[in-house]
């Protein structure tokens, strides 16, 4: 059974390169055959918003959608989404608006290693 990496992302898609680091780590881990769970919290929830169109930056939403299609599990905190006016149904296909209680706790239980990307 492949090991699982949990990526806990707390930085927004446009604030710094943090979300790009998270995406590159996730891609490398998937390519090495690991399972990958990503949980977005605080500003980290912004990565799943569909329709992101950054003119001159990597499109993290698109990349996360691609990695979700390759098997990465992506969940973000609903409370943090609502605080920022993002609602269920506005997430990138293959990702989920969930919760600390149900999803993040499960990720931590299932995960072999966790890395937090935060400032």
């Amino acid at each position: 059974m492949a090991k699982t990496m949990v990526i806990h992302l707390r930085t927004g898609s446009m604030m710094s390169m943090d979300s790009n680091v998270a995406v590159k780590l996730a891609r490398a881990a998937l390519e090495k055959g690991y399972n990958v769970h990503m949980f977005g919290y605080g500003e980290g929830i912004t990565v799943i918003k569909e329709g992101q169109d950054p003119k001159r930056f990597p499109n993290v939403g698109k990349e996360i959608g691609e990695l979700a299609a390759k098997g990465m599990t992506v969940v973000v905190c609903e409370t943090c989404c609502m605080a920022r006016g993002i609602h269920r149904g506005e997430e990138v296909k293959g990702t989920k608006v969930g919760s600390l209680t149900n999803d993040f706790s499960k990720f931590i239980k299932e995960g072999d290693k966790m890395i937090t990307i935060a400032r």
């Binding site: 891609r27 966790m114 990307i117 400032r119």
Partner: protein
């Protein structure tokens, strides 16, 4: 002996509390994994020496050094790595990660 990998994203010129590494890492083997502006530790002699006093090993993301004009410039104990090796360090070589 347990081992802890300290993940660092911030520049040495921001407020980075390396005493945390000593506190959290007491009695463990300690390494640092440098992303983004934290890679400046690898090319700033004074800051690099300061970090080296707190950890046993340092990994530096080659991508981030190159993005900042320092491709291949890491010296001494600073080992340049790519993303596949970063995954290996996280998943296989250290017991857990702490982000500071």
């Amino acid at each position: 002996m347990t081992s802890i990998l300290f993940v660092m994203l911030k520049s040495p010129h921001e407020n980075v509390n390396l005493e945390l590494v000593d506190e959290l890492g007491k009695g463990s083997k300690k390494a640092a994994l440098l992303f983004e502006d934290a890679v400046y530790y690898a090319v700033d002699k004074k800051q690099g020496k300061h970090l080296s006093e707190h950890v046993d090993e340092v990994f530096v993301m080659a991508d981030d050094l190159a993005a900042r004009g320092f491709k291949g410039k890491a010296t001494g104990m600073f080992k340049e790595i790519d993303y596949p090796e970063a995954v290996d360090v996280i998943m296989e070589r250290y017991d857990r990660t702490v982000t500071i």
